[in-house]
Each structure stands twice: as C-alpha cells, then as structure tokens.
C-alpha cells in the first residue's frame, strides 16, 4: 500500500484533568480532599483518591456505583513523570461500565492500602505491582514475590531500572555474538555495519 498522509489522531479519551463532577458530590463530601478527582469517561466513572484511603473508598463505592454485581477486573501500576500510580478496575456485569479507581504516590516512598481482603482477586496483581514498581501494599496478607525469583533486587517496570547484566539469568550467550564477526563475513576494507 502506498504511503499516505496519516489520519488525524482523535483527541485522547482520558484527559487527565483533576476536578470532581457534580454526579459524585456525595462521595466528595465524605472524602473531602482525599478524593482528588472524579469524572465520567466514555467507559464509566474514573476516580483518583489518596492511596491510604483506597480500600475505604472502594468500600464506599460498593454502596453507590458498584452496588450492582460487579467483577474485579484488574489492578496494575503505572509510572508517570512525577508519581507512581496504581489503577484498579471493576466492571459491572449487566452492562458496559468500567469503574476505574486510581491512587497517586510519590516515587520515593510509595504505599497504598490493599484491597486483597475485600477482593481476593487483588492478591496477585498487588503482589505483582509491588515487586515490579516497589510499592508497599499495606494490609496485604501475603507479600512474597510473585513473578520474580525470591530475593530479586530492583523493580523492573520502573523507567530507571538497570538490568543486572552480571546476573547469571541474564548473562549474554557466548554463542549469540555478532555473526558478522563470528563468521568473519566482514569484507576487507570498506563497508559499514548497521
């Protein structure tokens, strides 16, 4: 297919502006400053709360937007420019509505209140983002490493993570060196490698 002009990208859906929409006034009253943002997106409500109140907030949601039967969908961490963020998602069973709850934490001492007691499905993802981002999860019953080996140092999904190339698992394979050099295919004199 011939190259053509790029189609104009649509405006991103999740404009990350703080502020509380009037529909969530009751929640705002109850949580005050600890509810940082609450807005409606095309997918459903999207809240940002203080990390220490995350579990309380979700418990409160279970009386309002999450009163119906809902599925615990997902929990994951994201590293933003200035903060770490954890994102929890819930989905209503009856119709398309995804409820997103976020919490922002400083990068140096991140800590968040665990949902693992309320939603046992959160146990594994919380263990995963804890080891991948170095986030302390308070109130979690079992904080061993999940995917990484025991005693692994560092948090691989952080942007400043440096691969421990001297680690025996990551040592380069001597058989996998540059084949041009290994086989002596470089012609004499001229030519440049990619």
């Amino acid at each position: 297919m011939p190259e053509q002009e790029a189609p104009q990208p649509a405006a991103p859906e999740a404009e990350r502006v703080p502020g509380i929409e009037p529909a969530f006034a009751a929640l705002a009253e109850r949580f005050g400053d600890e509810l940082v943002a609450a807005r409606k997106t095309a997918d459903g409500p999207d809240f940002t709360v203080a990390p220490a109140r995350l579990a309380d907030f979700v418990a409160a949601l279970r009386e309002s937007v999450l009163a119906e039967p809902h599925l615990f969908v997902d929990a994951c961490g994201v590293e933003r420019e200035t903060a770490l963020e954890v994102v929890y998602r819930f989905s209503l069973v009856s119709r398309r509505e995804i409820v997103t709850v976020r919490a922002h934490m400083p990068k140096d001492k991140p800590a968040v209140a665990s949902l693992a007691v309320m939603y046992p499905g959160a146990r594994w993802p919380e263990r995963e983002y804890a080891e991948m981002f170095g986030i302390t999860v308070t109130g979690h019953p079992d904080m061993r490493h999940l995917l990484l080996p025991e005693g692994w140092v560092g948090h691989p999904l952080r942007k400043d993570y440096v691969y421990p190339l001297d680690h025996p698992y990551l040592a380069p394979d001597p058989l996998r060196e540059d084949p041009v050099r290994v086989l002596g295919h470089a012609p004499e004199g001229e030519g440049e490698e990619s």
Binding site: M1, L71, G121, W124, L147
Partner: protein, 370 residues
C-alpha cells in the same frame, strides 16, 4: 501418642510441577496434603515470565504485534485483536468493514481451536485419551486455515494496525465452510465421549465449585464465570465489533463446578460455529487495509480495551506519551485471574481432582506469567 491423632495422618507438603504433565505449562503448586486430601494449594508462578510489559516499552506498535501472539499462544488472534483495537482507538483509526469481519472470523476460529484443545486436555487429564486425539484432528482443520491465510500455525502476526497482513486467499472461504461442516458433525461425538460419560461426570460434578459472588471477587471471567451462572460475556455486555448484529447465545450454566465450566465450553463450540457461518455468509467485498503511517505516533493518552478471549476478559491497558512506543502497556490476562483461586477451588478435594480443576480453568501458563 496423642489421643486426637489416632487414625489420622501427618500433613505432607508435595510439589506438583513445574514439570508435571497436567499443569499445562510450567506451573508449580506447593500442595499441603492430609493423606490424599488437599489442605491448601499454593501456586508458584513466574517460570514463564517473559517481561511482555517491559518489552512493549522498547518496541514500536508495529513490532509489538508479533509479541502479543506469544503470551497466550492458544488465543493469538484474540491477543493481536485487542492490541490493535487499543492502538486504533487511541490513534482514531477506523478499519474497513471487510477487515472487521475477517478479524472477528479469526477470533472465533481461534476460540474454536482453543476450546478444542481444552476438550482434549480435559479428556486426557481425567483419563479419557481418545477424545484428545479426535479434538486434535479437528483442530488441525482450523490450524490449516490459519496456516494458509497467515503463514503460520500458532503465532500468526496477521493483524496490523489499520488492517490485516493480507486478504483471504481465493478458496479459503469454501475451505472454511467445509471445516465448519466437518467440525459441526463431530462436536456431538465429543459430548458422547466426554460430557455424557458417567466416569467423566463423576470426576467433575461438584469438584472445584465456587459461588458467583466469590468468582466475581476473584476476577474469574470467561467460561469459568459463566459456569457459575453469571451471564458475563463481553461479546454481549460490551457488544464490540459486529457482535451486536450476530445471532448467538451466551452460554451460562449454574453450578460453578468443573462440569459446568466444561459444559459452557461445549456449548460455546456450537455457538462459535454458528457465528463463523454467519460471518462467512455476510463477508463484504472491498479493501482490508486503511493507510497508516509506517512509524505510527499516537497522541498522549490512555485506553483500556477489552475483548472476550477463549479464556475470558482479555484487557489491554495502553498508556501513550506521544512517541511511537507505548509508555506503559499492561495485559489483563484472563488465565492469571482464573488461576488465582486455585487454593479456594481445590481445598478439601482429593489430590487427583486437582488435575481436573486445573484443566477445567483452561489456563495457559504463558498467559499467567506474561
């Protein structure tokens, strides 16, 4: 000897896996056994962890598509689909109707292939070897179709942002019809061999039961959740792509045990055949690709896109910072959440039932570990 201990056994910790043949990959479960009964089961995962999410941060959108095949390798088309859907939604790209039809067709064929493999694995894990061979014979029909259209049998790399690698070859539709006819006539045989077999029923009914409330809190999805009586099928709940226009039934079974999960998949085989036939009948002509720049850059933003994969809700969370690579990419892997309640499902059952429970959740360890 303590009076209370007379006639009882000591608890024993047994490692099941990581090389156990019925753990469907590399799963290690540390089992605490009281005699033959499971007291607790602690899955130890991560053996297949391949940093799928970190890899995404160093590859551009086009390069990453071939990686999406590789975590849930039994539902590769669905993985590609949800990824390109996420990128297209973020970049505001609309695909052509023919492309959308073919993508849906591929996803449903992939669901058939995956469920057929499930049937075989479930049979073999509960002691019925024959159905495994028959299912693989029929799965071959679908893999042949994939091989023809995409050039590979398992890791297709067929979908592109804004289109497909190529259109359907001439004669493919006819062969697909033939494969569906052959499959439809054989599905009843699997049920005779497995779902109606008394031994199989005795080994699965009441085993690994979970209530709907618990299943929802655990994040169960897909056939496992529908086996608990929750009609949660994203093809209907979200109604994405062309599914609202198609006629199919959401298969729900009460019970929440291994047998219900099995029966959901058994009925879904028939529903998927129905969907494939409908799509083949209404496949429009036309282009399959829309022009997309080679080095696609998307605006900063984020999107959570999800589809119903053979294993459940497959989500793709994509955060873009405006460059040609994702800033963060997260997979909501259905197997990860379907495996997590293993302890809850197995507690109190015989150790031999563990195998049936693991098989009935239909996990792919590549999907669990990502």
């Amino acid at each position: 000897m303590n009076e209370a201990n007379v006639g009882t056994t000591d608890q024993l910790i047994v490692n099941m896996g990581p090389q156990h043949p019925s753990t469907h990959g590399v799963l290690r479960v540390a089992l605490t056994l009281d005699g033959e009964r499971v007291v607790s089961a602690d899955p130890d995962i991560g053996y297949l962890h391949s940093s799928m999410e970190k890899i995404a941060e160093r590859l551009d959108y086009r390069q990453y598509i071939s990686y999406t095949d590789r975590f849930d390798y039994l539902g590769a088309m669905c993985n590609e689909w949800v990824f390109v859907r996420a990128v297209e939604r973020l970049a505001g790209i609309e695909v052509t109707p023919r492309c959308e039809h073919i993508r849906l067709l591929m996803a449903e064929l992939n669901r058939l292939a995956s469920h057929l493999l499930y049937f075989g694995a479930m049979g073999i894990d509960t002691g019925a070897t024959t159905v495994f061979l028959y299912c693989f014979r029929e799965r071959e029909l679908i893999l042949d179709l994939f091989e023809w259209v995409s050039g590979q049998r398992l890791l297709y790399n067929f979908l592109r942002v804004g289109g497909l690698r190529n259109d359907l070859p001439d004669g493919w539709v006819e062969q697909c019809h033939a494969a569906m006819d052959a499959l439809a006539s054989r599905v009843d045989e699997y049920d005779t061999l497995l779902s109606e077999n008394r031994i199989f029923i005795a080994r699965t009914r009441g085993i690994g039961a979970i209530t709907a409330e618990e299943a929802l809190a655990y994040g169960f999805s897909g056939p496992c959740l529908r086996g608990c009586g929750v009609p949660y099928d994203l093809r209907r709940v979200d109604g994405y792509s062309l599914y609202p226009e198609l006629d199919f039934e959401v298969c729900v079974e009460e019970g929440g045990d291994c047998l219900s999960r099995h029966m959901v998949r058994s009925r879904e085989l028939r529903e998927s055949i129905k969907i494939v036939r409908q799509v083949l009948a209404r496949l429009p002509e036309g282009e399959v690709n829309v022009p997309v720049p080679r080095r696609l850059k998307v605006e900063p933003g984020e999107v959570y896109e999800r589809i119903e994969s053979p294993r459940g809700e497959l989500g793709c969370y994509l955060v873009s910072d405006g460059s040609d690579k994702p800033w963060r990419m997260h997979w909501r892997a259905p197997s990860f959440y379907n495996l997590a309640p293993l302890d809850r499902l197995c507690r109190g059952h015989w150790m031999a039932d563990m195998v049936a429970v693991i098989a009935s959740t239909d996990i792919v360890l590549g999907d669990v570990d990502r």
